[in-house]
């Protein structure tokens, strides 16, 4: 490759969407900016292809930004650019009541997501990660569901706090002030928790189903296809790569990954809305990526292979999931969902890992990595991973069933806009990407896996879980009433549903109280939140007490000064 492009060009290209965001802010340029949005990620795509490997520090920017486009970052950059381009093409301009507002935040979030792929120092990564995650709040809430927006925001803010604390430790290590390993146990725990929220790890997944369901399709596609992948990239970047420090965490991470893989499938099949099913599928699929990274932690020699597997799997899952979210929306808007189902079958089969799909390749790479798992885990994974594929097949069957049987809105007035040709083109672009990407991957390891997946043995290895899943789905379908009892038994976000409902009631009650109070004279203290009341009131009472103390202390202080002056004279 001709190396004429400087490395910092990658970051500059990734930040091109910032121009669009700025354009949205100015009245005179907003129409142009909105039109330019679908092309904003293309410079980043070009940079992923053209900017040579290398790193450079931009010392004047913030606390010094290390631009580093390594092999992994390049793949995530390309994936993100592709998914965001498709999402921007699909984003229906008329669907939002504030199109410029939407486009501005969309561009800001895009810029953060693209830029975090090109930097490796903790502060800069955090900067762009936060830019992406916080801007997305505006996109999620543009669907009109305040409750989901709140869930997203609370999880995001807590995640950011975990992350910044973890990265303080990583930053100290990067400066060489902390002589120990790159990250100690606390740091590893924080990083795992922070990115765990982003990828919907079991226990930290409460935001994902409600958010995916509430977000407009383009946003859900960007979230599932690209933004949550930033969590994977973060784990790859900041977990102690191939070092002793992480070994103890390995089994824990593997266990969490396995739990997510099965939990997502089990809860997902009971769901009644297609987008929620897709969210649970994401939880499940990220579980598999987590397993690979856990193996890499447990066995330092497996780290590079684990990273390769996580990367390939992210590409495969990101493209397929984006295609599913957009396809689901098209099916909802189309006169008949039948022809769309045909298109949805490809990414569905790919996620299940059917032969000849990207899933078959990605799962094979994953298997290579998990094959290096230590002792007992090795055998357990051999047995459990195919079962997870059965679960995914069931989930996808459930998804397709829900899309196929969804009834059109009853009232004539509430018809939705038909899909635009541009939107359909975006979907077809994603489908094409799902079909070909991993098969024409330039990296030798992936190409080798692609060839290997075509051998008779692996064709069977990939086929039987899918066949078993299809059979199970068919049985469930024919059983009819027996299985339909399970539909809807668990609300979206399952165990978190009560907490989310509680938060909704809290805000509702506060708003009502504020409306009542507005006519009264200014309150010193707002109507305190129910559960927070005791703490807040306690703090307030402490304050009042302090004033009394201050008065007493002032007398005492004056006395002390007097005594001291007397003492000095004497």
């Amino acid at each position: 490759m001709v190396t004429i492009l400087p490395v910092w060009m990658a970051l500059a290209a990734a930040l091109v969407p910032l121009l669009v965001a700025a354009g949205c802010a100015l009245p005179s340029t907003r129409i142009f900016a909105r039109r330019a949005l679908p092309f904003a990620a293309l410079p980043a795509l070009a940079a992923a292809a053209l900017v040579p490997e290398g790193s450079v520090t931009i010392s004047w920017l913030m606390t010094g930004v290390l631009v580093d486009l390594d092999a992994t970052g390049r793949v995530f950059l390309a994936l993100s650019a592709l998914v965001w381009t498709a999402a921007a093409l699909y984003a229906p301009p008329r669907a939002s009541s504030r199109p410029t507002w939407f486009a501005g935040w969309f561009a800001l979030s895009m810029a953060g997501n693209l830029a975090l792929c090109c930097v490796t120092d903790p502060a800069a990564f955090y900067t762009f990660f936060a830019m992406m995650a916080l801007s997305t709040y505006a996109l999620v809430s543009s669907g009109g569901d305040r409750s989901a927006g709140r869930a997203y925001m609370v999880f995001t803010v807590v995640g950011e706090a975990f992350l910044v604390c973890g990265l303080f430790i990583a930053g100290a290590a990067a400066l060489g002030v902390d002589p120990g390993p790159v990250l100690g146990p606390v740091g590893i725990g924080l990083v795992l928790a922070a990115f765990g929220i982003k990828i919907g790890a079991v226990g930290l997944h409460g935001w994902m189903p409600v958010t995916y369901a509430a977000a407009p399709a383009a946003v859900a596609a960007a979230l599932a296809g690209s933004m949550s992948k930033a969590g994977v990239l973060g784990l790859v970047r900041f977990l102690p790569a191939g070092q002793e420090a992480g070994v103890a965490f390995g089994p824990v991470v593997i266990a969490f990954g396995l739990a997510a893989a099965f939990y997502g499938a089990a809860v997902g099949v009971t769901q009644t809305r297609p987008k929620v099913v897709l969210a649970y599928s994401s939880i499940s699929q990220f579980g598999l990526i987590t397993v690979a990274l856990g193996v890499g932690l447990a066995e330092p020699v497996a780290w590079l292979l684990a990273v390769a597997a996580a990367t390939a799997y992210s590409v495969h899952h990101g493209l397929a999931k984006a295609a599913l979210f957009i396809g689901e929306d098209i099916a909802r808007r189309a006169r008949s969902p039948r022809p769309i189902l045909l298109g949805l079958a490809l990414p569905s089969l790919a996620l299940a890992g059917a032969p000849l799909t990207s899933g078959a390749v990605a799962k094979l790479v994953l298997k290579e990595a998990t094959g290096l798992a230590p002792g007992p885990w090795h055998d357990a994974l051999e047995m459990l991973l195919p079962l997870a594929a059965v679960g995914t097949t069931l989930l996808m069957a459930r998804f397709l069933y829900l899309v196929a049987t969804r009834r059109a809105p009853a009232t004539a007035g509430s018809t939705v806009d038909a899909p635009t040709p541009r939107g359909v083109a975006a979907w077809l672009l994603l489908l094409a990407a799902v079909a070909v990407t991993l098969w024409f991957w330039p990296e030798t390891g992936i190409r080798y896996a692609a060839e290997k997946s075509l051998t008779a043995h692996y064709l069977w290895v990939a086929s039987w879980p899918v066949l078993a899943g299809i059979v199970a789905a068919a049985v469930a379908w024919t059983a009819g009433n027996a299985t339909s009892r399970f539909a809807g038994v668990l609300p979206p976000s399952d165990v978190y549903a009560p907490a989310l409902a509680w938060a909704d009631r809290l805000v509702e009650r506060r708003d009502k109280a504020v409306r009542v109070m507005s006519s009264a004279p200014a309150p010193a203290v707002s109507p305190a939140e129910e559960r927070g009341r005791s703490l807040l009131e306690y703090a307030g009472a402490l304050e009042t007490g302090l004033l009394a103390w201050a008065t007493a202390a002032s007398a005492l202080g004056a006395l002390a000064v007097l005594l001291l002056l007397l003492a000095m004279r004497g």
């Binding site: 931009i58 004047w60 920017l61 913030m62 606390t63 010094g64 502060a123 955090y126 900067t127 936060a130 830019m131 916080l134 505006a138 809430s141 925001m153 803010v157 950011e160 706090a161 975990f162 910044v164 604390c165 303080f168 430790i169 930053g171 100290a172 400066l175 002030v177 902390d178 606390v186 504020v514 109070m517 507005s518 200014a522 309150p523 010193a524 203290v525 707002s526 109507p527 305190a528 927070g532 703490l535 807040l536 703090a539 307030g540 304050e543 302090l546 004033l547 201050a550 008065t551 202390a553 002032s554 007398a555 005492l556 202080g557 004056a558 002390a560 000064v561 001291l564 002056l565 000095m568």
Partner: protein
């Protein structure tokens, strides 16, 4: 006089001279007063910048200084990089605030008194910044205490008088404690000049350990009131009855930062390594950590916009205290940088409070629904400042938080990380709802279509300053790596302050 001496005397003298002229002009010559005030502020900016240039040129042991002999312990000024940073922050923000205040106070009464005492406050703050020893520091500190009182009670309402009383209840005994500490220290150690890395003789730690601890407590008690260190912070929210420019410059920058600046001088340039040896800085750090959480929790409960900002200030000031109390140059740099960073961000927010209350008569957070449509520039500036305080990059608040967090690991005080993490969540919990109300909630019908056609969203003398300070806050974070940024400046200072 060399140009350095001229700059020093000018930096402290210009605001006092401005005050004298304003008092002499009387109440009714508004145009002349404004012109003199702006000229005085501009002159001050030139002088403090010159002092900063002088400080940067001199090594820490070759400070340019202008001494005035007074008593046998000396009354002297000097420019060093730590003091110059505070002086430049106070001076530059004074100029911007003057423009704002002229707009804000255009319909208020007793303007001569207001602007006169305002100038005195700024002059004392710069005096505090450029003091070469504890005695000079103490004198300016007490002048500042007294000159702030007429500003707090400016409106003359019962609430204002009550706020003023609360302020004095806290501030006067603090002055006494500071005086006692200064005198006692003089008895033990002789005249105390500030010196990078600490000026006390290390031998004192073994001869007078008890006395040194007691003196430290007295000194911190003295400056801790202005630094709003728990449990000395109660006056600050009460003082929010003051007009917006007072809250903006004095209660977010000059007065409160004089307190934390005093802590920095005492911890770094009087006690130095002795503080860590005696264990007093650890106690101070713990107290600061508690104040951070406490202030943030209290801010959560405030519906009154200015009170919420005040409690946020209580918490944020302790970031600075915490930074200088930790045994790491990185943490110290974070604390010192936050002195400038917080100033730019918080002044923006108080400017916003004033602009909003003047323009649309909204005082409570619950009245802010859809305010972003009505006052887009103002609320954009506010939102930038708010996310900065929360610690969202690339606004300056993140830079100081980053240095503090990394520095706390360096200092071996990992618990600080937990404080910073919890604080970030709490900051988000009390600032994001304001942003949410302003931008994401349905506006009142009369706000939905923005400001009236062809009209600006408010008095431009108020809007332009707050947009400027927000831009400064953003630039200080975005360009933190540039040699003259507060963050880089603070890192240079910290390298001197922590040579051991």
């Amino acid at each position: 006089m060399t140009w350095e001496t001229t700059a020093l005397v000018g930096a402290v003298g210009a605001p006092f001279l401005t005050a004298v002229l304003i008092f002499a002009l009387g109440e009714h010559r508004d145009a002349a007063r404004s012109r003199i005030n702006l000229a005085g502020a501009a002159l001050t900016v030139v002088a403090v910048v010159a002092a900063a240039v002088a400080a940067r040129a001199g090594a820490p042991d070759a400070y340019p200084s202008a001494g005035i002999a007074l008593l046998d312990i000396g009354f002297s000024l000097r420019a060093d990089m730590l003091g110059a940073l505070f002086a430049v922050v106070a001076g530059v923000l004074w100029l911007i605030t003057t423009v704002y205040a002229i707009g804000y106070m255009s319909r208020a009464s007793d303007r001569a008194r207001f602007f006169g005492f305002f100038s005195v406050c700024v002059g004392s703050a710069i005096g505090i910044a450029l003091s070469a020893n504890l005695l000079t520091f103490f004198v300016f500190y007490e002048v500042l205490t007294l000159a702030t009182y007429p500003l707090v009670i400016h409106s003359g309402t019962p609430a204002a008088l009550k706020g003023g009383r609360t302020y004095l209840t806290y501030a006067l005994p603090a002055g006494g404690a500071l005086a006692a500490g200064v005198v006692w220290l003089n008895l033990i150690a002789g005249p105390v000049e500030f010196a990078a890395g600490g000026s006390l003789d290390p031998a004192l730690a073994s001869t007078h350990p008890g006395a040194l601890i007691a003196i430290f407590a007295l000194l911190i008690l003295g400056v801790g009131v202005k630094a709003a260190l728990f449990p000395l912070h109660g006056w600050l929210p009460a003082a929010m009855v003051a007009p917006a420019p007072v809250s903006s410059l004095l209660h977010a920058v000059a007065v409160v930062k004089a307190g934390v600046f005093g802590i920095a001088r005492i911890v770094l340039e009087v006690y130095g390594p002795l503080g860590h040896e005696l264990g007093v800085t650890q106690v101070l750090a713990a107290l600061a950590g508690f104040t951070i959480i406490f202030g943030s929790v209290r801010a959560l409960a405030q519906d009154d916009f200015k009170k919420r900002l005040a409690f946020s200030t209580v918490a944020q000031l302790s970031y600075i205290t915490l930074g200088v109390a930790l045994a790491s140059p990185i943490a110290i740099a974070g604390g010192i940088a936050h002195l400038a960073h917080h100033a730019a961000m918080k002044i923006t927010m108080f400017f916003t409070a004033g602009a909003v209350s003047e323009e649309v008569k909204a005082y409570r957070v619950s009245e802010f629904d859809g305010l972003g449509r009505r006052m887009p520039l103002t609320m954009t500036a506010f939102s930038l400042a708010a996310i900065g305080i929360v610690g969202v990059p690339p606004v300056a608040g993140f830079t100081s938080k980053w240095l503090l967090g990394v520095g706390s690991i360096d200092a071996g005080s990992g618990w600080v990380i937990a404080v910073l993490g919890i604080s970030s969540v709490l900051n988000a919990a009390y600032f994001f709802p304001i942003i949410h109300r302003a931008w994401f909630r349905t506006p009142k019908p009369e706000w939905a279509h923005g400001p009236a056609a062809g009209k600006p969203e408010g008095d431009m003398r108020m809007i332009v300053p707050l947009v400027m300070t927000a831009a400064i806050g953003l630039a200080m974070g975005l360009l933190a790596g540039v040699a003259l940024s507060p963050a880089s400046w603070a890192q240079t200072v910290a390298a001197w302050e922590f040579p051991w």
